[in-house]
Subunit: 345 residues, 2 copies
DNA sequence: GATGACAACGAAAACGATTTATCAAATCCC
DNA sequence: GGGATTTGATAAATCGTTTTCGTTGTCATC
């Protein structure tokens, strides 16, 4: 068995030219049916595998997608939310015959810029997964190119944005606690990102729509996933003279921080206080009481991102219109939100 | 600004041949210092980026590593343990100028086999991350090749195996509970994998070394991450006439399953029962009581895997010797293991 | 002044495909 | 039958590098 079989070898055996073999393998229609069949048979017998470098060097189509994870530590693969999206994205594009390559984000001094890497490897498109600094020079350079790009949770005038329905989801969450009688609702929200913006707006709108006052001392900022800060802020809320009946957290992890803090203070959840998280990552179901949360549909987000990107790649003739794909989340009730009886309200 | 600058363009501008430009860019020594400098300057000015396809087509060195994740659902990126290893591996190889591409594991009918994909994309090496079926035809074909391969937690006579020190780690865990007075120790262990083997052996050896009886009814099999099964088995253990004082679980998730089951039965941990998990994934620190666990050093595993693989790729002259790299884990105490006073023992 | 060593460069052949231009033969259309 | 079209195949150009090999020119050595 020869080391590596090329089109030339097959051509020699079948007594045809290399170009005919190429056409036969690519199932073009200007080669007769019997020849096509014979060539493909021989190729199979010789274990022919095409050469990616050669074919893409010439054709420019790589069927390879660059994935840009955040360079921030603690996010990326280590963040379950994003890992889930990536996993779903991966399944989607692999099913459609595409390959995924990570864009190098190391601090190595001779690493190419994101844009250069895309040129270097000839990515057909790029998937920007998680909250990087969108104002960095490298990102701006990348976004300025005319490469097909899909971004998660970031509005970009030129690109496709697959985003959770933060506004709508947050309203759903508000509705959920409202229906259980809660009126005094504190909201420890995330940092000042686009993501947080939508949720915060939903909170305020909901309160207004239901003629509820928005107390400044019910609103706090806490970085996502900052367990310690979440604990500290929880204590601050508990110390308020006009204590709320429910605290909403920026994500599930911080919510558990609040839960633990309150339990250590001798409180019982949800009897003494209701809480809710956000995201719906896996441990909410194993913590007791289960954390009520707004489950983001990471599976759908990955699928949408993958399909939109590939469609954009494969049908460039349909004029490229930037687009925001909104994916709805789902309420995932846990025991951490209790019912307030009407006489207390 | 021209669309894509090639060596030819630079050659024209500098009045030299393409080969000289190539040599200058690759810092070869058969080109004069001043020419080299000029060429590199012009290349920089034109924003020259080499073409990966062309260069690897000719040179065969891709600096690209294929990563094979398990095709089993629920593992891979969604499994924090493996995600951590991959993340650390990624950082390591990116730092050294390598790129990572996923091997397509979809069920798409026209996907190439793992081996074919490696030939197709000319991977310099392969990283096999998590427990696939090592007897499948595809894996066997891949392992039979002479591609540099690093495998996690799987003994393969031909390849480099980076493995947790399951035997030693489990002994550490046993020692930990033993020192806290536990003698009647039940062990709900994982399925019959190589990984489990080592731990189970350590359990038995430890018991023998300390002249403790090994009761058959203290040993159960539970698939990893099977929360429900963990709960059921916990109930079985609790029903034993000769109840143990401590239960060890195959992993942290199943341990929490046990924890919840016992708490629901009105028991208090660790007063009424001690428990310990395994792995050290992130939520052990936010569950109350904290789960005592054996933290596997996923960071080190990823680093070792990356460096061993690249060394194997870059120095093929040192005769390829298969090797097992053993990585020690670390005890991570939580409140879930209590102290048994000597009069009870 | 012949010889060899060495440095600096270029021409050209790969690498393995795709694509274009071309062409002969076959078919079709009045 | 003559011209137009279609079909099936090929040769050659091309993609952008790397690498081999050969050609200079220079300089030290004997």
């Amino acid at each position: 068995m020869k080391e590596n079989v090329s089109l030339k070898d097959i051509a020699r055996i079948c007594n045809v030219s290399v170009s005919t073999v190429s056409k036969a393998m690519n199932d073009r229609n200007d080669v007769s049916a019997d020849k096509k069949e014979e060539i493909q048979r021989v190729a199979r017998e010789l274990n022919y595998v095409p050469n990616y470098m050669a074919s893409t060097l010439r054709s420019k189509r790589t069927r390879n997608i660059g994935v840009l994870l955040s360079e921030k530590t603690g996010t990326g693969l280590l963040h379950e939310h994003f890992a889930r999206i990536l996993n779903s994205f991966k399944e989607t594009v692999e099913e459609r015959g595409y390959t995924i390559t990570f864009i190098n984000i190391s601090n190595s001094p001779n690493r190419l810029s994101y844009m250069e890497q895309c040129k270097y490897m000839n990515f057909d498109g790029v998937f920007v997964l998680c909250g990087t600094d969108y104002n960095s020079h490298e990102i701006r350079e990348l976004f300025a190119s005319d490469l097909p790009i899909v971004v998660i949770d970031h509005q970009s005038p030129k690109h496709i944005n697959v985003a959770s329905n933060h506004y709508g989801d947050m309203k759903r969450l508000m509705q959920f606690v409202y229906e259980r009688g809660h009126r005094k609702i504190a909201y420890i929200h995330g940092g000042m990102s686009e993501v947080t913006q939508g949720r915060l707006e939903a909170y305020k709108d909901f309160m207004k729509e239901h003629q509820l006052p928005i107390y400044k001392e019910y609103l706090y900022t806490c970085p996502y996933r900052d367990y310690e800060r979440g604990s500290a802020l929880t204590k601050a809320v508990l110390a308020l003279p006009n204590r709320p009946t429910c605290i909403l957290y920026p994500d599930d992890l911080v919510a558990v921080g609040g839960l633990n803090t309150m339990q250590e203070a001798g409180m019982s959840i949800p009897k003494d206080m209701s809480i809710a998280g956000y995201d719906g990552i896996s441990f909410v179901n194993i913590v007791r009481p289960r954390i009520t949360t707004l489950h983001q549909d990471t599976v759908s987000m990955g699928i949408q991102a993958g399909n939109k990107l590939i469609n954009r790649i494969e049908f460039p003739e349909e004029k490229y219109k930037p687009e925001t794909v909104v994916v709805d989340g789902m309420m995932e009730p846990g025991e951490s939100v209790g019912v307030i009886s009407s006489r207390n309200s």
